[in-house]
């Protein structure tokens, strides 16, 4: 139990001044600007936006700077900020099929409509440290090659290609006016349906999802996944404010989407067909969306009548531990003063110890 404490104001103030000094580092080295973080540490910004569950590149960059690069602390700062703002409403669902694509790959079909577009990827790099980036003297990189594109070439979702042949399950349809779960409004309760699970996973900790996704590949709730498609790019966002009565374009956001194609044996009711797992995140978060898609599929065990035997299939376990702000809050609160609680425990151990020693002496005497 944590009991409130008083005092320590001047020590706390001094600690925070020291923190500011540590944050700045060697004053002989130029101070990092939030614009530099926003433009050059883009994947850190993307992770903070995704897990902070707030799309705002400038705020994420500021949070990363303030948190000295501790991304979970930065996510915490972003979550705290968002709780101060009013909610204007719910946007219309984004249409990822209309994305301006910067990267799009499929591990299931070699040749597919729209093709395989590598985009800005670490894949196929040699993972050798590049000394030319040292010392800030790398200069402007050479301009990337360009190739003309045919106008408005459609890039269909890979799963839709299978869908046309009935070889993959259809996505759950919208029941018009069916409420969409929102865990920022109502606390999560179980069983949780897929809309709530996806919301929780989208803001969930990348490390946890990576480990759980990996565990399914290693046999703890195996789902036979293929990366049907990963796409990265910009989508338009629309809001229909009540005061206007029509949709207003708000601007564009960058998202990463992953569709996993998984095996399913079929049952008496449904013919053998592939099943799906889905991942979506703000910015360029490929590892996150792949892990999310694996875990989303594993969590469908109940719906698909699969035996629940592994952690990744247990929605209460996964969703209760996915939020790194909650997790760090509970783990880190252990370092706050627990003096009273500990004194009680100490007294109890001393008493038990006395009783044990008395018993020992009695036994020796007999």
């Amino acid at each position: 139990m944590y009991v409130a404490v008083k005092g320590g104001e001047s020590a706390i103030a001094a600690a925070h001044t020291l923190l500011a000094k540590e944050r700045r580092g060697d004053p002989a080295v130029p101070e990092l600007t939030t614009e530099q973080i926003r433009e050059q540490l883009t994947l850190a910004v993307d992770r903070v936006m995704s897990e902070g569950s707030l799309y705002d590149r400038d705020l994420a960059a500021l949070a990363i700077k303030q948190a000295r690069g501790d991304l979970i602390e930065a996510i915490f700062l972003v979550r705290a900020y968002r709780s101060t703002l009013p909610r204007f409403g719910y946007a219309e669902p984004i249409e990822t099929s209309a994305m301006t694509i910067r990267r799009r790959i499929s591990a299931t079909f070699k040749d597919l409509p729209g093709g395989q577009v590598l985009g800005p990827t670490f894949d196929y790099t040699h993972r050798l440290l590049d000394d030319s980036l040292n010392g800030g003297a790398a200069g402007t990189p050479s301009s990337p090659a360009r190739k003309p594109v045919s106008e408005d070439a459609k890039v269909p979702h890979v799963a839709d290609l299978l869908g046309h042949q009935g070889l993959i399950e259809p996505n759950p349809e919208t029941e018009s006016a069916a409420p969409v779960g929102d865990l920022t409004r109502d606390p999560l309760s179980f069983p949780a349906e897929r809309d709530l699970r996806l919301q929780s996973l989208a803001r969930g900790d990348e490390g946890l999802l990576l480990a759980l996704g990996y565990s399914t590949q290693r046999g703890y709730g195996r789902t036979h996944p293929f990366a049907g498609e990963i796409r990265l790019g910009e989508v338009e966002v629309h809001l229909a404010p009540e005061e206007l009565g029509f949709e207003v374009p708000l601007g564009t956001i960058t998202v990463t989407e992953c569709e996993m194609v998984n095996q399913f044996k079929g049952s008496a009711e449904s013919p053998p067909q592939f099943t799906r797992g889905y991942g979506l995140a703000f910015g360029h978060c490929e590892r996150k969306t792949m892990s999310m898609a694996l875990v989303d599929r594993a969590l469908r065990a109940r719906e698909l009548g699969e035996e629940i035997v592994a952690p990744a299939q247990d929605e209460e376990f996964v969703l209760s531990h996915a939020d790194n702000v909650q997790a760090t809050g509970f783990v880190e609160h252990l370092k706050l003063p627990h003096y009273v609680d500990f004194q009680a425990e100490l007294q109890l151990v001393r008493q038990m110890r006395r009783e044990w020693e008395d018993a020992q002496r009695k036994e020796a005497a007999e």
Binding site: I94, R146, V149
Partner: protein, 160 residues
């Protein structure tokens, strides 16, 4: 009757889509582009705040599996403003981000866009240049991506 109210009561698809087109341009325009479009309006419109610019959140939504039922995906910062011109038109703006200056400018332009005498100036000083810039940026993005298109070949492995 304010323009927004009129549209709400008697939806006129053409009026609505014209407003949406201008709102889309405003959503992508920089502060400098919005400012120069306002400066070009003659006479400069008088606008009063119905609602001063304020920043809040909009919950964004995705679709399950990319095309299915919606789910709440995460929030974005959005700044909105509403103004009324001296001539009675009301203008609204909802823009991603936290710039109150951009939101106010966009709301004024949205209102001005409803007056025929401003249309030509707005097209010339805002719609056309911003659309051209966006088109050139989108083209660059798509052409750079296109240059990374890959053709994989499958090879037969093993002895036979």
């Amino acid at each position: 009757m304010p323009e927004a109210q009129r549209i709400h009561d008697h939806p006129d698809a053409r009026v609505v889509s014209a407003r949406q087109e201008l709102m889309e341009i405003c959503a992508h325009a920089t502060e400098a582009e919005l400012t120069s479009a306002i400066d070009a309006l003659d006479p400069r419109p008088e606008a009063t705040d119905i609602r001063p610019a304020e920043t809040g959140l909009v919950m964004l939504r995705g679709r399950i599996g990319g095309s299915g039922a919606p789910f709440n995906f995460g929030e974005a910062t959005v700044t909105r403003a509403a103004v009324r011109l001296g001539t009675g038109e009301t203008g609204f703006s909802y823009l991603l981000g936290r710039s109150k200056t951009r939101a106010r400018l966009a709301a004024v332009l949205e209102a001005a866009g409803q007056r025929p005498e401003y249309r030509r100036s707005i097209v010339q000083h805002l719609v056309r240049p911003v659309a051209e810039r966006l088109e050139s940026e989108r083209r660059a993005t798509r052409e750079e991506a296109e240059a990374t298109r890959v053709e994989f070949f499958t090879l037969v492995r093993g002895e036979d």
